[in-house]
C-alpha cells in the first residue's frame, strides 16, 4: 500500500510557511516590520480590498512574517488555515465574534483559564452572549446545557488548573449531533502532544505565548480553522452562510467553503477589532516553534521526574496530573495523549493556604509568575492570582482549593528543579 508521503511534524516545525526570501535569499524568516504595502496599481489595490485576489494591505489584517507563523501553526495542527492575534484572549474573542452575535449562547467547561471564564461569565453577557458552564467530564451535562441559541461548545484540552483531560472525540460528537462546532483551547498540549482536529474538534485556539513560543518573551494567540465543519448546513451561522454587506454581499461559506471561518475571521475580525499580532512577536514565536518537539519531550520527562518526587514527599497532600494512576482521567490520557499529558500539574501543600504561601515565597529557582509554558519552571497560587476574581463557590466548582499550587515544569536539569521544590516544601512546614 502506498503512503501519502507527507512532510513530518519536525520538518514542518522548521519549514512550514516559509521559503528562503526570494529577493534577499534570507534563510531565516525576515521581520517585515511595516504597517503597509505598496500597491502595484489602482486595479491591484481594488482587487485586494475587494477579496478578488490575495495579498497584504495593512498589517492589522495580515503581515508576511505573521503569515509564516499562521501557516506553520495550521500545518502542525492539520487545519486549513490560522489567524494570529495579539494574545490568547484576543484569539478566543476573535473566534467568538466571528461565529456568534447577540442572543447566542455558549456551553463551556467550568474548568478553564480564569481569564476566559471572566470573559464568558462577565464580559460577553454585556454584548448579549451568555454561557452555561458544565462539568467537562459529564456528557449529559454538555447535552442538557445546549439550547436553541447555542452556537459553540468550548473547553480546554487540559483543564486549568486541575488538568482535566477533555474527551475530545466524545464532546465533538455531542456538538456535531446538535449541528454545532467544538472549539478547544489546546495551549497546554500543543500539537506535539495532541492534534484536536484529528480527534473531531473544529476550531483550535492557543495562547502562543506559552509552550508554542516557549521562551516567555512574546505575547500571541491563534485560532486554527479545522475546515471540516459545515457552516452552511443549518441557519445557525449567518455570519458565514448569509451575504455580508462588508464585502458587497459575499457569502463566505458559498465562496470559500471549508475555509470560510479563516477568511471571515481575518476579513472582518482583524479588520474591525484590530487585535493583530506584531511582526516581531511572530518572529520570536517562530523561533520557539522550531524546537517544539524537542522542548515538549523534555518538558514531559521533567514533569514525570517532578511528580515522582512530589508523590513521596511528606509535605505534599496530593498531586494532580493525568500521568498519576489515581487521576480520574488517567486512562483517557493514555488514549488521547500517548506522548504525555503535558508539563503543568497541581499539588496541595500540607498546611493549607498559609503553608502554600510559605512554599511560594521560598522557591529560589522556580519563578512566581502568572504564566505557564515557559522554558523556565514557574509556580503560582491560583486562588490569589489567576482565579482571584472567582467567587468561593466558583473556585470550588473550578477545582481550585486554597492549598493548590500550580507548577509549570521547565527545561532545567530535573535534579535542580527537585532540589528547589524540596527546599521550599521544607520551609512550608515551618510555620
Amino acid at each position: 500500500m502506498v503512503d501519502p508521503n507527507y512532510l513530518k511534524f519536525d520538518t514542518l516545525s522548521l519549514h512550514a510557511g516559509q521559503e528562503p526570501d526570494p529577493v534577499t535569499g534570507s534563510r531565516a524568516v525576515p521581520i517585515y516590520q511595516t504597517t503597509s504595502y505598496s500597491f502595484a496599481d489602482t486595479e491591484q489595490a481594488a482587487g485586494l480590498f475587494n477579496l478578488e485576489q490575495p495579498g497584504h494591505i495593512y498589517s492589522r489584517i495580515s503581515n508576511p512574517t505573521v503569515a509564516v507563523l499562521e501557516e506553520r501553526i495550521a500545518a502542525l495542527e492539520g487545519g486549513v488555515g490560522a489567524v494570529c492575534t495579539a494574545s490568547g484572549m484576543a484569539a478566543f474573542h476573535l473566534a467568538a465574534a466571528t461565529i456568534m452575535s447577540a442572543g447566542n449562547h455558549v456551553v463551556a467547561s467550568r474548568n478553564i483559564y480564569g481569564g476566559t471564564h471572566n470573559m464568558l461569565n462577565l464580559t460577553m453577557p454585556r454584548f448579549g452572549i451568555t454561557t452555561t458552564f458544565v462539568d467537562p467530564r459529564d456528557p449529559e451535562a454538555w447535552r442538557a446545557a445546549i439550547t436553541g441559541d447555542t452556537r459553540v461548545l468550548f473547553a480546554e484540552t487540559l483543564g486549568n488548573p486541575g488538568i482535566e483531560v477533555l474527551d475530545v472525540p466524545l464532546v465533538a460528537e455531542i456538538a456535531h449531533e446538535h449541528g454545532l462546532p467544538l472549539m478547544v483551547d489546546a495551549t497546554f498540549t500543543t500539537p506535539y502532544l495532541m492534534k484536536p482536529i484529528d480527534l473531531g474538534a473544529d476550531i483550535v485556539m492557543h495562547s502562543v505565548t506559552k509552550f508554542l513560543g516557549g521562551h516567555g518573551i512574546a505575547l500571541g494567540g491563534v485560532i486554527v480553522d479545522g475546515g471540516r465543519f459545515d457552516w452552511a448546513a443549518n441557519e445557525k451561522f449567518p455570519t458565514l452562510s448569509q451575504p455580508y454587506d462588508g464585502y458587497h454581499g459575499i457569502t463566505f461559506a458559498e465562496e470559500y467553503g471549508h475555509q470560510a471561518l479563516s477568511m471571515r475571521a481575518r476579513a472582518e475580525g482583524l479588520r474591525d477589532f484590530g487585535a493583530a499580532m506584531s511582526p516581531t512577536n511572530a518572529f520570536h514565536l517562530l523561533q520557539g516553534i522550531e524546537t517544539l518537539s524537542l522542548r515538549m519531550k523534555r518538558h514531559v520527562e521533567n514533569a514525570i521526574s517532578v511528580i515522582d518526587f512530589l508523590e513521596t514527599n511528606d509535605a505534599v497532600a496530593w498531586v494532580s496530573h493525568p500521568s498519576v494512576t489515581t487521576h480520574p482521567d488517567h486512562d483517557l490520557a493514555q488514549r488521547l495523549l500517548p506522548k504525555g499529558a503535558g508539563a503543568i500539574l497541581s499539588f496541595g501543600v500540607v498546611g493549607g493556604r498559609e503553608a502554600g504561601r510559605r512554599f511560594i515565597e521560598n522557591v529560589q529557582l522556580a519563578s512566581h509568575v502568572a504564566n505557564v509554558g515557559d522554558a523556565k519552571t514557574l509556580v503560582l497560587h491560583p486562588a490569589s492570582t489567576t482565579h482571584q476574581q472567582l467567587s468561593a463557590d466558583d473556585l470550588i466548582a473550578a477545582g481550585v482549593s486554597e492549598d493548590l499550587i500550580r507548577l509549570s515544569v521547565g527545561l532545567e536539569d530535573p535534579e535542580d528543579i527537585i532540589a528547589d521544590l524540596s527546599r521550599a516544601l521544607r520551609a512550608s512546614q515551618k510555620g
Binding site: A16, E52, Q53, A74, V80, G81, D230, H258
Partner: protein, 262 residues
C-alpha cells in the same frame, strides 16, 4: 446560489455578485471529489472583470443535490443541459482534472454549448492508482491523503499559500474529507474508465491547456498527447507547479484565464 437542472438543485458560486445576464457566461468545473470552492481564487476575480462566473458543484457534490453521475460522458451531457437551462450560453468552459475531461466532452459532443475551452491539469486518459481507487471504494481517509499528497508540487507541501494564513495541504485534504461517502470513488472510477478517443479532433473552438511541470496526476507528457490532437490550442507551461495549479499559483492562473477569456 441555487439553480434547478433536471429537477434537482444545483449549487454554484458567482464570486459574491449577482449573476449579470448581459455578461459572457464562464462555467468552472471542479475535479474528482471536490467542489466549486477550488475556484475561490478565480471566481470573484472573473466576476469583477467582465464575466458572469458560475463555479458549479456537480450533482451530489458540495451543496448540489442529485445522484452522482457515473461517467465523464454523463457529466458532459449534464453540463450541456445546465448551460442550456441557464440560458446564457454558449459558455466559456473552464475545467480542472475530471472537470477538464468533462469540458473536453462537452466541447466535442455539444459544440453549441461552448465557445472557448480552458483545460487545467488535463490528459486524454487519467488512470488511477489501484491503491487510491481501493481506499476510495472503502471511503478511507487514505484516499484524501493520497490525492492531497500527489496533487501538489513540492513547493506547495512546504509553504506559499497566496492567501495569508491558509495552509494548502490541509485545505485540499479537508475539502476531500467533506465529500459524502462514495463521491471520490465515483469520480475516480469515472476518470479511470475515460478514454478521450478522437474527441480532441471534434473540438472546433480555441482551447487553452495549462500544464504544471510537477503535476503527478496529469504529467506534462500525458498532457502533450492531448495537445497533439487539438487543432487550435495554446499551451501554457508552469514551472514548479503541481496539479492544484489554480490554488498553488492563483495569480498566474488568473492572468491566463483573463487573457484567454478576452
Amino acid at each position: 446560489m441555487n439553480f434547478e437542472c433536471r429537477g434537482e438543485v444545483v449549487n454554484y458560486a458567482t464570486g459574491g455578485v449577482a449573476l449579470d445576464r448581459e455578461l459572457p457566461l464562464v462555467v468552472l468545473l471542479h475535479g474528482a471529489g471536490m467542489d466549486r470552492t477550488v475556484w475561490s481564487q478565480q471566481t470573484r476575480y472573473l466576476a469583477h472583470h467582465g464575466f458572469a462566473a458560475m463555479a458549479v458543484d456537480f450533482p451530489g457534490h458540495g451543496k448540489s443535490d442529485g445522484m452522482l453521475l457515473s461517467s465523464v460522458k454523463e457529466m458532459a451531457d449534464w453540463v450541456s443541459e445546465f448551460i442550456a437551462e441557464v440560458g446564457m450560453g454558449p459558455a466559456r468552459l473552464i475545467g480542472h482534472s475530471m472537470g477538464s475531461l468533462v469540458s473536453l466532452e462537452v466541447a466535442g459532443r455539444h459544440p453549441e454549448s461552448v465557445e472557448r475551452l480552458i483545460l487545467l491539469g488535463t490528459a486524454p486518459a487519467m488512470p488511477v492508482h489501484p491503491d487510491l481507487l481501493g481506499a476510495a471504494e472503502r471511503n478511507e481517509i487514505l484516499a484524501p491523503q493520497l490525492m492531497t499528497s500527489w496533487a501538489h508540487g513540492a513547493r506547495a507541501h512546504i509553504a506559499g499559500h497566496p492567501t495569508p494564513g491558509l495552509w494548502m495541504r490541509s485545505g485540499c485534504q479537508a475539502l476531500l474529507e467533506r465529500a459524502k461517502d462514495d463521491v471520490i470513488f465515483n469520480d475516480l472510477t469515472a476518470c479511470n474508465a475515460y478514454e478521450a478517443g478522437d474527441v480532441a479532433a471534434m473540438i472546433k473552438c480555441t482551447t487553452t491547456v495549462v500544464v504544471g511541470s510537477e503535476d503527478k496526476m496529469t504529467p506534462p507528457r500525458a498532457t502533450a498527447h492531448l495537445v497533439a490532437g487539438l487543432s487550435d490550442v495554446d499551451l501554457k507551461h508552469l514551472d514548479g507547479v503541481g496539479h492544484m495549479m489554480m490554488i498553488e499559483v492563483p495569480d498566474r492562473i488568473r492572468e491566463i484565464l483573463l487573457s484567454a477569456l478576452r
